[in-house]
């Protein structure tokens, strides 16, 4: 994926242009100005603006019409983040890497926490931290994204969901960069290449959906209840300790085991590491994660859609 807009400045092939031919009614009228006289509005309105009382509409067509904007907003978030820093991508690696050293020292060396199996503790911790760092940053950035983009929300229309979604998507770039270290660690510790590795993208997709769900939920509420922003860091910190990021789920027994399993992050992290180590994932936590993530996403989208009509008025 190229992030440079200049790539698209090249004269476009006619075929490419044809490929962009009307995919939705909204785009159908993008003709040169000379033809404008010939524009004939159809019987059916292009856009029907209903009152607030008309209920929640999913309006998937709108997402499609504006799909390029999601890309541009993501691209902006990534570009701006990397432009302002001296070391650019290095920060993205340093954060989970340093945390890995610290927790390895504290829990593994001093505390004697062992992970057993085929996975050494540093790799175990880094894999967990990689997912968690993505999740926490994505939730954090999407929470503040709506308030930061007030001028967009009050001045122009597009699906508002794209703002927190772009913040999550931008986090994926950081994730990809930080994954380089994971690959390095895998080589260093001679992790065997198994078919289980093919499951890794599934868990990445799950953590993206979960981050999106939580991000949508909290960002929509933050527009109205600004002080949620201050609650979030604590919430994320507790959530991290309540997830098997720096300790394995198997260390827990009974009640605590089931309590942690009810946490959608648990199944994702455990599954991700199992796939990495080349053995089967604990089935119940993974299924619980999938179910909770999807349920949460549906709720988040519904709530966001319901609240978004008031964004411009209350932000």
């Amino acid at each position: 994926m190229s992030l440079k807009p200049s790539d698209s400045v090249r004269p476009l092939e006619p075929t490419l242009e044809a490929a962009h031919a009307p995919q939705s009614t909204l785009n159908a009228n993008d003709r040169p100005a000379d033809d404008a006289r010939a524009l004939r509005p159809e019987e059916r309105p292009h856009v029907l603006i209903e009152s607030e009382e008309s209920g929640v509409q999913l309006d998937l067509g709108d997402f499609w019409t504006y799909r390029e904007l999601l890309y541009f907003l993501t691209w902006r978030d990534v570009k701006v983040r990397y432009k302002q820093t001296l070391m650019g991508a290095a920060w993205v690696i340093i954060q989970p890497l340093l945390t890995m050293f610290v927790v390895t020292l504290v829990f593994n060396k001093f505390g004697g926490l062992e992970t057993g199996e085929q996975m050494p503790y540093p790799l175990f911790a880094y894999a967990g931290l990689l997912l968690w760092t993505f999740f926490a940053n994505a939730v954090n950035n999407s929470t503040t994204s709506l308030v930061q983009n007030t001028s967009l929300i009050t001045k122009v229309y597009f699906p508002r969901m794209f703002i927190p979604a772009a913040a999550v998507a931008a986090g994926l770039v950081d994730f990809a960069v930080a994954s380089v270290i994971l690959i390095g660690l895998m080589i260093y510790y001679h992790v065997a290449l198994t078919w289980h590795l093919l499951l890794l993208p599934v868990y990445v997709l799950l953590v993206v959906l979960l981050a999106l769900a939580v991000g949508l939920l909290i960002s929509a509420l933050t527009v109205k209840y600004r002080d949620l922003r201050h609650v979030l860091p604590f919430m994320l910190q507790f959530w991290m300790f309540a997830s098997p990021i720096i300790y394995p789920l198997r260390k827990l027994q009974g009640r605590w085991y089931w309590l942690l399993t009810a946490n959608p992050v648990t199944g994702i992290v455990e599954g991700f590491r199992a796939a990495l180590a080349g053995h089967a994932a604990p089935l119940v936590p993974v299924l619980v994660s999938v179910a909770l993530t999807l349920a949460l996403l549906v709720c988040a989208i519904y709530l966001f859609r319901r609240l978004e009509v008031t964004f411009a008025d209350v932000i």
Binding site: L26, I49, F72, L152, V223
Partner: protein, 430 residues
Amino acid sequence: MPPMVTIENVSKRYRIGGLHPGYFTFREMLEGIARAPFRRWRGANGNGAHTRRNLWALKDVTLEVKQGELLGIIGHNGAGKSTLLKILSRITKPTTGRVKLYGRVGSLLEVGTGFHPELTGRENIFLNGAILGMRRAEIARKFDEIVAFSEVEQFIDTPVKWYSSGMYVRLAFSVAAHLEPEILIMDEVLAVGDAAFQQKCLDKMHEIRQQGRTIFFVSHNMPAVTRLCRRVILMQQGQITADGPAQEIVNTYLSSSWNISAERVWPEAEAPGNAVVRLRRVRACNEAGETIAAADIRRPIGLEITYDVLQAGHTLTPVVEVYNEWGAHIFSAHDTGAEWRRTPRPVGTYKSTAWLPGNYCAEGSLLVHASVMSHYPATALHVEARKVVAFQVVDSQAGDTARGDYVGPMPGLVRPLLKWETHSEVHGQQ
């Protein structure tokens, strides 16, 4: 002509008041939840601090706009103009009613929405274009044109934070100007900037209208509204109170906002004045003697004062003073006609008219003060009535005024049609 936009009984309610005007805090929400079970006991007058007042920014607005119409929207601040534009732009939803848009909508409520200071001019063109609803292929196709229009070619790969404010606005406007919606929604904000920039905006609007597109234009610039729009709606307190030809509605607006019309008549008992003179009527009229709220800039304008002389033996000089809408005093005129200049007047009713030549005052609203004085043998002010009459001077853009073919803003208190001479020495071949 088919309708492009139908607005059906649209109302918009805002809730204001309470502790925080815009938003609540999480704490308040928790409080609200905690109190909810008890709310029923307390009845309607329970928690005074949290009661919110309803403000109807729009009340039952119904409107149909046809293809190719350039609709001007005027009204005082807070009349609901911006709320209407926000609903049409889909930024906010109406509380009741609905809107049908029969075309792709582009709204320019601000120039440079979404511009990011850290990104270069090139990057911002793509970002801003996408935010305004353009597709990537479309932006790519128009890219060179946009850059050329903005005149910032040299700095196109420089972050816009290093741009001068002029460059920034030019680039932002260029992107907006290349948006090609069928329905364009424009707010006043576009009319800021220097004269050249405003000119570009107005030229572009002209061009867009000629392409058969539909435009909503909110403005406080009455000359621009009358010049550009054929149809204007006047909004007052969330409602459309007048809808019709531009000139007529602008006059209604101005006379309602000043509460002054083109004619003022006083009944005998209320006539201002002293024991010598009383004013009975002041008006602006045309050569045919009709009272005119809108005067053609090319034609003479009569400022007529009717007054009763109650006491014989005084020499009297009627005076008119003319101010523009910004309060600039354009001129004063004293009656210097030989007949009554030094002749004491007998008791009676007199009507004096000062004729302004055509092509004299600039476009806009004019306010008239009328008074009657004595200058000979001694000076005395008998009656002075300030802001009695208001009227508009209109350039209908026929091409035979001082504007020629120019359609943009034309500052200046007066607008003489001057005689121009050009002497040429042509060098080289044709």
